[in-house]
Subunit: 198 residues, 2 copies
DNA sequence: ATGACCGAGTTGCTTTTTTAACCGAGTAAC
DNA sequence: GTTACTCGGTTAAAAAAGCAACTCGGTCAT
């Protein structure tokens, strides 16, 4: 099930986590542009070149948490059981995310998670780069859906729906409500949105 | 006072400590020859060649704690204030060690320390290698004391005295007495032994 | 407007570590 | 007696990390 992790791989993963965690915690503490990459490298106890070997840009230090979900939509469509509509598969997947309060659904009231979302959405360079990630995600989904303009449109619409749903959930939670309390309407919203998509 | 530790030096020191600690704790747990160097490397999360780059032999994984005191006697003699006899300086230094319950004086009842001493003295290959360390220590002390056979003899006698004192203290503690309780006689023994040396 | 500084990212070189394979001695199986 | 282990210790090649010095764009003083 799990690969026989060698020493090398294990340490690399740990270093990556250490850098990412140090970066996010510093960003949350002082804000994105009040923290230099030197600060992060120092906190993670690695050198600057090493930092950039793990993350191509400063922005990616934040966005790797989204990047981990990169291509997820496309994969869901590709891996669906035969006889299932793509939109249905995506709908179920999103709903499953809701049920386990996956941060990407916006339905998560852990203080760190909500602070993290605020960080991303209120820092222009981050929001900017995030849309770039979403574009790639969209293309991958389009390819999974088929060819031509039709597939592109569908992909764009699906991801737009997911963005709106996540944003809505996050907003409610930012207003002070708990994830548990919001969950029912989040499910209802998702059902309505995905059904309209069909 | 402390050198400006770079990243490299800091990590090296940490690795060395990790290896040494892992080794000693495994040895105390299962005995010297029931632990392979592979086990130690695995516990310290480093590879076998790396282990041997830090410690030349398996024995040194235990004895580095003594090695850290390597040449201490010689240094004490060299750094003594003018007008002070070498033996006096060594006597005071040993006594100071007693007062702070330095493990090398044998006067320390921390369970880990006493178990550690038992490990060293009851494992032949360790005891053997330990005498080699002591030989080097003796030579260094001889050089600090002067030249010729006279200095050598003095050095040998001093170190023999220290060994006997440490061994005696350890034995009393191994018999179940506390370091506090043994301290007065330890001091008396030391005074007598060093005075006889003069 | 110029020069000094700071921060993101890069480059070239060196040191450290991993990996896998090996050696040589001991030892248990058969 | 040969075979096949285990264990201490070594070797060579390749990956990873450290370090210092650099580029390049901006910002701020003078």
């Amino acid at each position: 099930m799990s690969e026989p992790t060698g020493l090398r791989a294990r340490k690399k993963e740990r270093t990556r986590d250490a850098i990412g965690d140090a970066a996010v915690s510093l960003f949350l503490e002082r804000g994105f542009d009040r923290v230099s990459v030197n600060d992060i490298a120092a906190a993670a106890e690695i050198s600057k070149p090493t930092l950039f070997r793990y993350f191509p840009t400063k922005e990616d230090l934040v966005l790797h948490r989204f990047a981990d979900h990169q291509g997820e939509a496309a994969r869901v469509v590709r891996d669906r059981r035969s006889g299932i509509e793509p939109v249905t598969a995506l709908h179920r997947h999103f709903r499953a995310g809701l049920d386990r309060y996956d941060p990407v659904t916006g339905l998560n009231d852990h203080p760190e998670v909500v602070a993290f979302h605020r960080l991303v959405f209120t820092t222009p360079s981050l929001a900017g780069r995030l849309t770039r990630y979403q574009l790639e995600d969209e293309e991958a989904l389009a390819d999974a859906l088929g060819e031509g303009i039709q597939a592109r449109l569908r992909a764009a619409q699906v991801l737009a729906v997911q963005r709106v749903l996540a944003r809505t959930n996050w907003q409610k939670i930012a207003d002070g409500r708990t994830a548990d309390a919001v969950h029912p309407e989040a499910v209802a919203d998702a059902d309505q949105a995905f059904n309209q998509l069909r």
